[in-house]
Assembly symmetry: C2
Homo-oligomer: 493 residues x 2
């Protein structure tokens, strides 16, 4: 017998961090998936496959990649293909030209480390795309203010690490929020300061409440807010901010000396009629002095969402606006410690910011693919909110943007008792919506994330589901959720 | 005039972190590089280009990628190519077969997030390669003990974050060390506990000293060592450990309950006659009880070094041996917060661990490329150590492995005064070897990293240079360093 293992010390901040999107429910789902591969497992469950609605992962749910981007990337991965006419003749001319153009900047060493902040040419492309998106807001975006990252998550981590040193540093976050934020705050030992979105008003942000959240944080937690996070379009809420609200938020951040962190990874995912994306950068630069020069803003984007959906590529960027030199210097150093983001993600980010232009060989086919995906996402967004809203005890705000519905669920009083009894029996502390999501999974094979993983107004219950299952599967999801929830009411009412 | 900017708070741990490999000297090099693009700049310097010897970045210095790996990757990035015979006819059959095999596991969604720990099939390939490398050490490596990462750096960060929570937690590191370690320890607020390698004995590790380093750390810093880092082959030292020493290190870690972190990214880079790589995993599993079961070991590898040199791909893995469940659980959670490593890096890691097999179409050409690169690295390693060792005031240990020479430099007493005077004038605190490296750069265009960035015995001075410049450039490097150093002695002796 080996001697008993020593206890190994674990960083308590790591123990404290939670991430529901890949937490208890998805882990149980993976066990069930394995079980379904065996005859005994299949006999145990009333379904033969799972539908993963827990994570915004479009290409895992049959969304096809945009062809042009993959064509260019394959040529950059294997530059020797460009010397073989039998191969290049099979590619559209603009894909070949684009690969040559990028390789002209990169040189032969497409496997080398890049600049810490990413290829200079790619950052220049990003900067020009930002200018176009922001209608020429002045001053223009500068490649030296752009950092290419392994997805937006890496950017969030790097920036929060610079700004949050311990319990005395707070981060103002929306509730509900994307749990990356609470996880990173926990890892840094920082203090979350929560501001609540208004569910009944399409999850609107009430900028007037920010001051009291700030003051209460200082008074009660003895922590100074250093960063305010806004997710627009909202995750998990799907809400899209109004320009006037954004101005108030920027003004608040500037007045209080708080860094404004704008998570804008869903900027291309807006479905609601009459709504369009306005970036915080455009808003800030359009404000009167001193707000246009003194609001310290970092805006994050990603190749994982939008229409491109290249999650596994781990591409993205952040753009710094009005960063003081001391902050900028730390960003540069932190990037250098991390060496650089992956080159395929960098290339994908450049491509996302410069799709085929009118007159290019791939122009028509690119936009046909793009518009097809967008139209389908929009259709599913509308359908899902409407269908979920019609289920007993559910109420669902419209999915104006992003990739998720976040309905309220009401459960019978006895269901809460049922959960409390099971928790006692199992030695667990599942929230009622976590129990509900677990039982939904066990009974239907549909994987969603309980609202408690995102934060919610005390006393309310929610879950998050993506709008991503293909239209046929979406029907199965709605039917399954409806019948499960009716069963809950029938059994526990 | 805009109002004066508010002071922004910065995490003091971030301010404290340093990373010399991309620090002062390389940043100055980038400025010079920009200047050299203009006629005025060219007039200012006695050289027209730089040689970057500061970072192990083979493909930036003309090392070609291994063709087979790029072929497979291009097909996986653009799976539609597989349906086009005109394209596939231009690839070797085994590249096409390999791409189909991997895509069979991945499915259509090559842009989707993978499992948090990476594709299961890729982890299985890594596990089988580890078994082969370790001569069937028992028990076999298990895919569930492998985590695919964005390069080895990401693995180091994740693991140290789990094990180090603050100043009470120490990490034992070799001196000199790769500065990623001191940077991450600083970011976590941990305590470094330094053990010194013996320069005169090919930078050997003296396992007998570890106990006193541990005890002194507890007594003087009030910090408990949680991790012991070993870099084998050594960076920056080039030393290769003996099996007996490795056993003593493992025994020490097991007895003291310290996690053994084996940085083995240079495992394929051993040039010294009679030396070969033995992994810590093989050593540990070959020890008698309880060491074979109770030594908690994590071994890191990367696609950036070796012969493959795919730094920009950000691929790599770590392998956990004898991890207690509680530790393993935190690894899983931290991976889930980070979503997953990039898919191209994962594919490259799988390829690195399963090159073409005998009988495959690419077998001969793959090994011809591989052996060519290896032979050239070996030649440069021998040449560089010998040449540097013959320079006045230099003494250079043989480069047994890895990609660097780390010579001692002796400087005239007056040079130290010269540095002190300049520091006073410039308001800086450059170490003498940093001044030397800076002046070497300004005078010759050769970029190296001062020894003070890695740590060195007090009173000694060193610099690190890679062995990577192509053979023709290597001559320029040696000539430049020799003539600069002779100039220093002529002027300050």
């Amino acid at each position: 017998m080996p001697a008993a293992r020593k206890e190994f010390h674990i960083n308590p901040r790591v123990v404290a961090a939670q991430y529901a999107v890949r937490g208890l429910i998805p882990m149980r789902a993976d066990e069930i998936k394995k079980a379904l591969a065996t005859p005994e497992g299949r006999a145990k469950y009333p379904f033969s496959s799972l539908v993963y609605c827990n994570i915004g992962n479009p290409q895992a749910l049959e969304q096809a990649p945009l062809t042009f981007f993959r064509q260019v990337m394959s040529l950059i991965d294997a530059p020797f293909l460009l010397e073989n006419e039998q191969v290049t003749s099979q590619y559209p001319a603009d894909a070949v030209a684009r690969a040559r153009e990028y390789l002209g900047h990169i040189g032969k060493g497409t496997g080398a480390y890049t600049d810490s902040a990413g290829y200079a040419f790619a950052r220049e492309i990003v900067a020009r795309r930002i200018d176009e998106r922001d209608h020429g807001a002045q001053p223009p975006a500068d490649a030296s203010s752009i950092v290419l990252t392994d997805g937006a998550s890496t950017g969030v981590r790097l920036l929060l690490q610079i700004l949050v040193g311990g319990a005395g540093d707070a981060v103002m976050i929306p509730i509900p929020q994307y749990p990356l934020y609470t996880a990173q705050i926990a890892l840094l030992g920082g203090t979350p300061a929560m501001y609540y979105l208004r569910e009944g008003e399409h999850w609107a942000l009430n900028a007037e409440e920010l001051a009291s959240v700030y003051d209460e944080c200082v008074a009660k937690s003895n922590a100074t807010p250093r960063v305010l996070v806004v997710i627009n379009p909202g995750n998990p809420t799907g809400g899209v901010l109004e320009r006037g609200v954004m101005e108030s938020v920027a003004k608040f951040c500037c007045d209080r000396g708080v860094v404004l962190m704008a998570d804008e990874v869903y900027q291309e995912n807006i479905y609601a009629e009459g709504k369009r994306f306005v970036s915080f950068r455009e808003v800030v630069l359009g404000m009167p002095a001193p707000y246009n020069t003194d609001t310290v803003l970092v805006s994050l984007h990603s190749t994982s969402k939008g229409i491109i959906g290249e999650c596994g590529r781990r591409g993205g960027y952040f753009c710094c606006t009005n960063f003081p030199a001391a902050l900028r210097e730390q960003v540069t150093k932190m990037c250098s410690i991390n060496l650089c983001s992956n080159v395929n993600g960098q290339v994908m980010t450049a491509l996302m910011c410069s799709p085929p232009r009118r007159g290019d060989a791939s122009y028509e086919s690119y936009w046909a693919e793009y518009n097809g995906i967008f139209a389908s996402l929009k259709k599913r967004a509308l359908l899902l909110a409407e269908e979920l809203g019609s289920i007993r005890g559910f109420s669902c705000q419209p999915v104006e943007g992003a990739m998720y519905a976040f309905p309220t669920i009401q459960l019978p009083e006895k269901y809460l008792q049922h959960n409390a009894e099971l928790n006692a029996k199992e030695g667990r502390t599942l929230a009622p919506d976590a129990r509900w999501a677990l039982e939904l999974l066990e009974n239907t094979g549909v994987v969603v994330v309980p609202g408690s993983g995102f934060g919610q107004l005390p006393g309310t219950l929610h879950f998050r589901t993506t709008i991503l299952p293909p239209e046929a599967q979406m029907e199965r999801v709605v039917r399954a959720v409806r019948s499960f929830q009716e069963g809950v009411w029938a059994k526990y009412a």
